[in-house]
């Protein structure tokens, strides 16, 4: 039976804080739940590693993606398995979150296993790169993940080459490259995007604008506020997404990916966000000094998990009391416990950690191997 909304009904119903875009509007309630779970997974990866390091089980610098997880999750969610990605230092979860929709434990998934990624973090022989390079410098030809060097923006040319080759082979794969806003100042960023624009290559450049490049604020890196405007110099689309809202990221990236897959060429998607802590964990204390407290508070005020839950409640895909479960949002590694995360997230990642911890280090002699490919 149809009912007509009265004026007082309309008043009672709160105004939606966000209107879904064309792509996110098509997401199912299951998609919503999966996305939320993935946000928790990314967050848990981050805080778990910090805890592991505090426990002394881990060395090396950690580049936290805390508060930026919606960019990783929302960007990857709409990709096809055979699409390529090129993550950087702040995107560690991306390695195992690629193609997660094909099943978290699906062995044929076109993404790394969480075991492999943890093995890399722990520097074990079971890392995809056998722990020869550090941090996020892994990749997989088989899983279509480009291996970065440290040199920022340095993989965008390779992204162009990968999809150029794919297109020649009749494929329609898109490549997503992740970049901090600071790295857009690199010369090779310009050369590669220019090349992609000339050849209409399906390369989507994701700019995670977290306002800071290490200790340098964005206004000293670029003369405009919106890094998406870099696109204008190449005549390619430059979209802006709310990096705290996984739906908006999903929408803008999907738009860019569709554009790319249709042969219309590259684009840039700037996702506005804020780095929660220091540049790396070695920088946490200093960052607290060089960044004004109110800027940090403001920047962290919209935790992507909280934003997601709120929207799901609005959309009716999460019950208000469910939204009070697993309260990881807004908390740092020292404040959360495993109870703040869905058990499947904790279990999944724990398998990765235990695998890594129990994996052997590579043998010393490997240091001298694979300089050249021999015997062809």
């Amino acid at each position: 039976m149809a009912s007509t909304a009265t004026e007082s009904d309309q008043k009672k119903k709160p105004r939606p804080t966000y209107t879904p875009g064309p792509y996110s509007a098509k997401l199912t309630p299951e998609d919503h739940r999966e996305l939320l779970l993935q946000l928790y997974l990314a967050r848990y990866f981050d805080v778990r590693l910090i805890k592991e390091k505090k426990r002394g089980r881990l060395r090396g610098t950690l580049y936290s993606s805390h508060n930026q997880e919606a960019i990783i999750v929302g960007s990857l969610f709409g990709l096809k398995p055979e699409d390529w990605i090129s993550p950087i230092h702040r995107d560690m979860p991306a390695f195992f979150m690629k193609d997660l929709r094909s099943g978290w434990r699906n062995p044929d998934r076109m993404g790394m296993t969480v075991q492999e990624v943890c093995a890399q973090v722990w520097g074990r022989a079971t890392s995809p790169g056998r722990a020869r390079d550090n941090w996020s410098h892994i990749g997989s030809k088989a899983k279509h993940i480009i291996h970065s060097t440290s040199m920022l923006a340095g993989t965008i040319p390779a992204a162009c080459g990968v999809v150029y080759a794919d297109r020649m082979n009749g494929g329609d794969a898109v490549c997503l490259t992740f970049n901090g806003e600071g790295s857009t100042a690199q010369g090779v960023f310009h050369e590669a995007i220019n090349f992609a624009a000339v050849h209409k290559l399906p390369v989507v450049t994701v700019i995670e604008n977290n306002q800071w490049a290490y200790g340098t604020p964005a206004e000293l890196e670029y003369s405009l506020e919106d890094f998406a405007r870099r696109a204008d110099g190449y005549g390619i689309p430059g979209l802006i997404a709310d990096g705290q809202n996984v739906f908006d990221v999903y929408d803008k990236i999907s738009e860019a990916v569709e554009w790319a897959r249709a042969g219309k060429g590259p684009s840039i998607v700037e996702c506005k966000t804020f780095r929660a802590y220091g540049h790396g964990d070695h920088d946490d204390d200093r960052a607290a000094k060089y960044r004004p407290a109110d800027e940090v508070e403001e920047g962290r005020s919209r935790d992507p998990i909280a934003v997601m839950k709120k929207l799901m409640v609005e959309f009716g895909t999460l019950k208000p009391d469910e939204a009070k479960e697993f309260m990881a949002e807004g908390k740092g590694a020292s404040e959360v416990t495993n109870d703040d995360f869905p058990p499947q997230v904790v279990d999944y990642l724990s398998e990765g950690v235990e695998f890594a911890v129990n994996s052997p280090e590579p043998a010393a002699e490997e240091g001298g191997m694979w300089v050249f490919k021999e015997g062809h």
Binding site: K141, A165, V188
Partner: protein
Amino acid sequence: MAAPAVSTKKNYLTALKEAISEEMGSNPDMLCIGEDIGILGGAFGVTDGLQAKFGAERVIDAPISEAAIVGVACGMCLNGKTVMAEMQFIDFISCGFDQIVNMTATYHYRTAGEVAIPMVIRGPAGGYGGGALYHSQMNEAWFANSPGLKIVCPSTPKDAKGLLKASLRDPNPVIFYEMKELYRQRAIEEDVADGDEALVPLGQAQVRRKGESLTIVTYGNNVYHCLQAAENLDKEGFSAEVVDLRTLVPLDQNTILESVKKTNRLLVVNEAPRTCGFAGEVLARIAEEAFEHLDAPPSRITRLDTPVPWVKPLESFVLPSVEKITEAALRVCRY
């Protein structure tokens, strides 16, 4: 009297052109990328006709972006292609430097063998043509000190073709130095085979001239200066053995060692700056490995530690010459 047979001899440039064309023909997964290599056919014409034959998708006229050229090529190789990337002059390789030494050279190493990058970066190199600071460089030492790169420098048409073909089949990145002053040199034209028969494997030096008194190790254009110097030495009663390295990395140390064990004297000649140049590397290796066999100090003739200046007298002043080589060789022989 019968009409003289038409010469089938080919110059160095034609040999290179054939190598690329043959490999493009037999390897459908091979591409070429570089500035002005398609429509124009290359600044020197090494890729002349290639785009007409294989299409603009496989023979790409790139923007003036050396870093992108190398990096794009690297990505293509990552995704299964073989790529020839041209530097219009090898001097401009400095603009793509990071993509070579950090992205490309290390790819196999950092992926523990998962990824191979079958890329050849080639370009016109070397002095003696009045090209000045930025059209005369021999910068092979930068890459010899960057693990993961093979380095090749042919001196004859046969080697130019054979080594380029081998480089294009090698699963590793190769920096390929072409001696532009030899491109069209008539005196060195020779018969050059077709197809697989033309292949010259990487990593093998070639003794260009047998001798007993002294080993001269060199490569590229300097091979001819050394051969001329060897003739001067003949007149003085010394016979020089001239070893043309052809491939610098990996180095054919055995051929040099065997020669030095016979002659007991070593002179190394190249046209790159002296300090940390490849001549010094050869000298160092032989000093380490064949110390007991040396009857005189090992010696080298190189470019001075200067850029290559433009006008002739200045250029000659800083580069190795037949005279300088002869003089140094005599000094070593008479030691």
